[in-house]
């Protein structure tokens, strides 16, 4: 789950004791003008959960209320990535002396939290890694412990941080605490800036909450950014199903992520284009009834592949759901089945007896027939 900058700062950084600039969240140009009147020279920043806001024209300086009002009018309603700007963060301008980079994230290979720090900030970490790898320091942390002051000092040694070093060490410690407390997948401050007055402040912040931990972070999760999705994808979310709408015309209903991706691959292999990703694997295998409804609701669908290969997901239970939905929906497009694995005898019999359709023995044959029917 992604968060906009203001939420990351106010819900994660500030409570953890990481300094941020003074700022106000605004939803109109008039509010931005009022905020600027209080703050003085300010930065008006589009709040969307997407990168490259500056390049897209979503971050602008304003000397006072009139200018703040003018740039706010320009930025509100702007499209950045998949998002329309509906909120602005109006922050005090900072006199920047140096820009650093700091983050805590998952090191997937090491299966541990990783603290990253770089003396070069303000650009993507991938670009820093490519341009100046020597600027990046890494510290793996034992999940059952926390980074010791000595570890952090060793990590920062030789970077010539001067008086900022102590503040940075403190901020890294606080970031790690926040990362653990809030189930972060990523907590990134870029840039982490040394100001002319000697303070070190988080000018921007990205916080990603682990989707699997949303259930135990309810207070923060309710401020999560909306995900850009189609109306059909939103219906999928409401039903607890992961649906991704694509631009093809062969609908896909399969169980398990691996089999579903493979079904899409084989559709493309035979010259067709998949209309969706939708899987009912894991605990969701009992949801085939609503799943069939979703797939058939996609106006682009000209034919449909139903491909079950049951392990945990019982094909008899999935076929039963499909049959129930079928009697209600009466599909108007041709449907091609392939069914194997746990419960396959009952499942094949259900589809044969109730729908009068003979499942294909080979998945490739079912898919090839569906691709042909869609053309």
């Amino acid at each position: 789950m992604n968060f906009e900058e203001y939420a990351a700062k106010s819900l994660v950084l500030t409570p953890a004791g990481v300094p941020v600039p003074r700022g106000t969240l605004c939803i109109s140009a008039a509010e931005a003008a009022m905020a600027a009147a209080n703050i003085g020279p300010c930065v008006v920043k589009a709040q969307v959960p997407a990168g490259k806001r500056g390049k897209a024209g979503g971050i602008k300086l304003a000397a006072g209320p009139d200018e703040a009002k003018a740039v706010a009018s320009q930025i509100l309603g702007m499209r950045i990535g998949d998002y329309t700007v509906e909120r602005l963060l109006v922050e005090e301008q900072a006199e920047i002396a140096r820009e650093f980079y700091a983050a805590v994230l998952h090191d997937v290979a090491a299966r541990k939290p990783l603290i990253l720090f770089s003396t070069d900030g303000g650009m993507d970490i991938e670009d820093i890694a490519a341009a100046k790898p020597s600027a990046i320091r890494r510290l793996l942390v034992d999940i059952d412990g926390r980074p010791s002051a000595a570890d952090v000092a060793a990590m920062l040694r030789g970077l010539h941080l001067g008086e900022a070093g102590e503040q940075i060490a403190h901020i890294l410690d606080r970031m790690y605490a926040a990362f653990r407390a809030h189930d972060a997948e990523l907590l990134e401050i870029n840039p982490l800036s040394l100001l002319e007055d000697g303070r070190v402040v988080a000018l921007d912040c990205k916080f990603v909450l682990d989707d699997a931990a949303v259930y135990r972070q309810p207070d923060i999760a309710k401020s999560g950014a909306a995900v850009a999705m189609t109306a059909l994808e939103a219906r999928g979310v409401a039903a607890g199903l992961k649906l991704i709408q694509l631009d093809g015309n062969v609908g896909v209903l399969a169980n398990g992520a691996g089999l579903t991706m493979t079904t899409m691959d084989v559709i493309r292999h035979f010259g067709g284009k998949p209309a969706n990703f939708l899987e009912i694997g894991g605990e969701a295998y009992t949801k085939s009834e609503i799943a069939l409804d979703l797939v058939l609701s996609n106006p682009g669908v000209k034919s449909l592949v139903i491909n079950f290969c049951g392990a945990f997901a019982r094909t008899d239970v999935m076929a039963d759901g499909v049959v129930k939905a079928w009697h209600k929906l009466r599909p108007k497009v041709p449907v091609f089945f392939s069914i194997h694995g746990t419960g396959e005898e009952e499942a094949v019999k259900l589809v044969r007896d109730e729908l009068g359709i003979e499942p294909y023995d080979f998945m490739e044959d079912a898919i090839q027939a569906a691709v042909k029917a869609a053309q």
């Binding site: 691959d265 493309r268 292999h269």
Partner: protein, 294 residues
């Protein structure tokens, strides 16, 4: 991580709906299930298996070395850490959607106590004709058949399809190793490949991968050193980048984890990469035949 019929297995969460269903299937197939754990029902038996209050007691009383978890995500960390502390050698974690920081704690405990974790989010392990541990249709004769080809898969459903295709081509399997669909796994594709390479009953390997992460690239380095032939299918060629395709690990960010990167690494290592899963039998026969001629 190749399970054998004499391995003594404890089922954590044995009394739940899925725990019950799959424990019965495992026992019927030949798995040596010696214990179950449920603190509220200690002292009872369930589907003929004695229940203990915790894993430590189950291990003390039954000498079990393998544990399989039917435990929902909020309780998974505690169950896994307790199993590691109890001295379990092989811990099969079926649970999907465990918070990542809990998964890290599970791996830390496993490393400390010398436990091998398979998973999380795995469909389990099958040794056709002997036993299985997990949620795979080992008992469906059209899917699994005893033989000499090892299969590694991140996905349960796709792994099932590949075993089905092998069996239909008349090729039996020495072992199925489901490594799991999560990004942070206890057992990697490379770990499984090394185990199958060492296994005297295995003479070739099928690697079933998918987009996301670098498991296949890492395994390719090892595959290049192997004498046994390796055939691979990688799912996700048609998946759009930047979207998470069901499995938490199945996401392409930039070029990292892409289909092209994996295919290139595997082909460079001498692995035959299939366009669709149906050709797996033919490809294996060609590779094994070529070796016999070589």
């Amino acid at each position: 991580m190749i399970v054998r019929k004499n391995d003594r297995v404890v089922v954590l969460g044995i009394t739940g709906k899925q725990g019950t269903f799959w424990t019965e299937k495992m026992i019927a197939y030949g798995t040596n299930v010696v214990a179950g754990v449920n603190p509220k029902r200690a002292g009872e038996t369930h589907v003929g298996v004695p229940i203990f209050a915790d894993t430590a007691e189950a291990v003390a009383k039954t000498d079990s070395e393998v544990a399989v978890m039917f435990i929902p995500p909020p309780m998974a960390k505690e169950a896994a850490v307790s199993a590691a502390q109890a001295g379990i050698k092989l811990l099969v974690v079926l649970t999907e959607h465990i918070p990542a920081q809990d998964v890290m704690a599970m791996h830390a405990a496993a490393a400390k106590h010398g436990t091998r974790i398979v998973g999380p989010n795995t469909a389990g392990l099958v040794t056709p004709g002997e036993c299985f541990v997990g949620i795979m249709p080992a008992f469906v004769p059209s899917v699994f058949k005893a033989g000499r080809v090892g299969v590694i898969s991140r996905s349960g459903s796709l792994g099932t399809l590949v075993c089905l295709n092998l069996t239909r081509a008349g090729i039996g399997q020495s072992a199925f190793i489901g490594i799991g669909g999560d990004p942070m796994l206890g057992t990697t594709t490379r770990d499984a490949l090394e185990a199958l390479d060492r296994d005297p009953k295995t003479r070739a390997v099928v690697m079933v991968g998918e987009i996301g992460g670098t498991l296949e690239e890492d395994a390719a380095e090892y595959a290049a050193t192997m004498k046994k032939p390796v055939v691979a299918f990688i799912a996700g060629a048609a998946s759009p980048p930047g979207k998470r395709m069901g499995h938490a690990g199945a996401i392409v960010i930039g070029d990292r984890g892409s289909y092209a990167s994996k295919r290139k690494a595997l082909e460079k290592a001498g692995v035959t990469v299939l366009d669709t899963p149906s050709g797996v039998g033919e490809a294996l026969k060609a590779r094994l035949g070529a070796r016999q001629h070589a």
